[in-house]
């Protein structure tokens, strides 16, 4: 990742009229091109104010902000905002405009011609996985998750280098939220935008942030580092407290399954004799084995289900403890604990590659 600064906050301070304390106290923050920086902290920590100062929805009391090499007060606010994508929690789609018109908001403000705008709208609908047949509809006809995607498409319409996201996934249910978070990450792999995202959810910060800025009440920056650094060495007791007592487990969500962690598992085939299958189970200290056919997992057999001469005659069961190769250790551990408590089969593109065990995971954490 290049280390060219895209957004620089220099001693930025904000005090609202009539307040007797700063909302943001002399904040210095540099955000590099192409990285996702998450501002996280308890309510009243000034994270949203900080974000809104970048596109001048709030004006700093003192200090300066530079975006893409230009001081943000060197141009009228509306011109600045057309170059910065903006996504908010309540999404704020325009209810009286179709999905296509919503997405085309900034292109319309910039005076793009119809041909270019239409092409861009379709490109973005595909990008955020909104069916083209939805484009003529109004926002009230969409689900929460779909609206959120349209909100992101609208923010990206004029291809701004910078994207500001204020609690973008706060209004959707946890399942949709997790999907949208992953979609954001895959989107970012293709787009390489500079993204500043505000959240109060430390798990979200760890999941999506390249770097995380932890803010304390009054807009004091407590730590600004990668999620891994923050989890392994919190700067102070505030950060440690904010991370919570399960920060070891949280670290697991940053780690993925590595090749050396994948072990040979208790595998049997259709033509494996039952006596041999029993030996395989004993060798792995389990009372079940994975049935593999043509490289794929067919299911499992338990010791009590063994019958006849070979596995083909034995009772086959569904294998629940399966995890994709690209999964995080947190997901792997979750699958193991919620199934047999010992190990999970790992698949890559549908093909069985081995097993991962709790012992393997705990070894990785202690490194």
């Amino acid at each position: 990742m290049s280390a060219t600064p895209m957004i620089q906050l220099k001693s930025v301070q904000k005090r609202y009229p009539g307040a007797d304390a700063d909302a943001v106290a002399h904040l210095d923050l540099t955000i590099d091109e192409g990285e996702i920086v998450v501002l996280v902290g308890p309510s009243g920590c000034g994270k949203t104010t900080t974000l809104r100062m970048i596109n001048r929805l709030a004006e700093p009391t003192s200090g300066s902000i530079v975006v893409a090499g230009r001081a943000i007060d060197s141009m009228p606010p509306h011109e600045l905002r057309r170059t910065i994508g903006y996504v908010i929690q309540q999404i704020g789609l325009f209810p009286h405009r179709s999905i296509a018109q919503n997405i085309a908001t900034v292109p319309a403000l910039l005076g793009w011609d119809k041909h270019r705008t239409d092409a861009r709208v379709i490109e973005l609908a595909d990008l955020v996985d909104i069916d083209r047949s939805m484009l003529a509809r109004y926002p009230s006809e969409l689900s929460g998750g779909q609206r959120q995607r349209v909100g992101v498409a609208r923010a990206l319409a004029a291809d701004p280098p910078v994207l500001l996201m204020d609690e973008p996934f706060g209004a959707v249910d946890p399942i949709v939220r997790e999907r949208l978070q992953r979609e954001l990450l895959s989107l970012q792999q293709r787009l390489q935008k500079t993204i500043v995202l505000v959240t109060h959810d430390i798990d979200e910060a760890i999941l999506v942030g390249d770097r995380v800025a932890i803010l304390n009440t009054g807009g004091i920056l407590e730590q600004y580092a990668t999620p891994a650094e923050i989890l392994t060495s919190p700067a102070n007791s505030f950060v440690a407290g904010f991370l919570g007592s399960d920060r070891g487990i949280k670290r697991l969500s940053l780690l993925t399954i590595e090749t050396h962690m994948i072990e040979d598992g208790p595998v049997v085939f259709h033509d494996t004799p039952t006596s041999e299958a029993s030996d395989v189970m004993d060798r792995h200290a389990l009372d079940w084995a994975i049935v593999v056919a043509e490289g794929r997992i067919e299911g499992s057999v338990s010791k009590s289900g063994l019958n006849g001469d070979t596995i083909a005659q034995s009772r086959m069961e569904v294998l629940d403890s399966v995890i994709e190769r690209s999964a995080t250790l947190k997901d792997a551990l979750d699958v193991i604990i919620s199934t047999n408590g010992r190990c999970a089969a790992v698949t890559e593109g549908g093909r069985y590659v081995g097993v991962i065990t709790t012992a393997g995971i705990s070894q990785r954490i202690s490194q």
Partner: protein
């Protein structure tokens, strides 16, 4: 002449009279509509100006509400009596009265409509890079339309009723028949005239109201149907 109260063999409504006076009834209906239309158009224009003032300088909203509210409370009879020595028995007199009664309803609905535009929509519009003026005309006004049109509906129905009172100064559209009917109340012709004036006035109000509901539907296709 036998009055209604005395003889029950006399018809309450003389259909012959209606047939003989169709031309006159049509003229008075048109006059009624024209007086209403002028009042609504002028009232709406004035209200737009007052609303822009109130939104631009928030502190003017209090006084604007106070003055238009005061106009609204003046009894219509008293207002016309007061105006006739100044502006005479003219359309101007009638319209000054009628327009006065629309302002409170219209201004209040316009300001409320704009105020009720969801904050997140305004915030998003700002963040997208709308200028203040662009945001107002392209986002806030279209979203306020349902509330604004509601105000126009209410004002229109009110004015259609009030126009009958302007018959006292020689105008009044269908109010003409009501006034004449009252003067000859004891005759079947009188009750017929009251009936015609009242029924058509109500019919006009209902028709105008339904037309405006239809207009609102056409003007706001984006609203989820099934909600009031």
């Amino acid at each position: 002449m036998i009055s209604v109260a005395q003889g029950s063999d006399q018809p309450i409504i003389v259909w012959d009279w209606i047939g003989r006076n169709l031309g006159n009834i049509l003229d008075r209906t048109i006059e009624h509509l024209v007086l209403t239309a002028i009042a609504i158009v002028v009232g709406t224009l004035l209200s737009v100006i007052l609303t822009l003032l109130a939104l631009r300088w928030r502190r003017s909203y209090g006084p604007i509400t106070w003055v238009t509210g005061l106009l609204y409370t003046i009894p219509s009879l008293a207002l016309f009596t007061f105006l006739v020595p100044i502006t005479g028995l003219s359309v101007l007199t009638a319209e000054i009265g009628l327009v006065s009664y629309t302002l409170l309803i219209l201004v209040r609905n316009m300001v409320t409509g704009i105020d009720e535009v969801p904050q997140e929509v305004v915030d998003a519009a700002k963040g997208m890079g709308y200028t203040r003026r662009g945001r107002f005309w392209k986002i806030e006004v279209p979203l306020a339309l349902p509330v604004i049109i509601n105000g126009i509906r209410l004002a229109t129905v009110t004015v259609i009723g009030l126009v009958t009172v302007t018959s006292l100064i020689g105008l009044g559209g269908l109010g003409f028949f009501i006034l004449r009917g009252l003067q000859t109340f004891s005759s079947p012709i009188g009750t017929t005239q009251i009936f015609v004036g009242t029924a058509l006035s109500i019919a006009l109000a209902v028709t105008a109201d339904l037309s405006l509901v239809a207009l609102e539907k056409v003007a706001t296709p984006w609203r989820p149907r099934g909600t009031p």
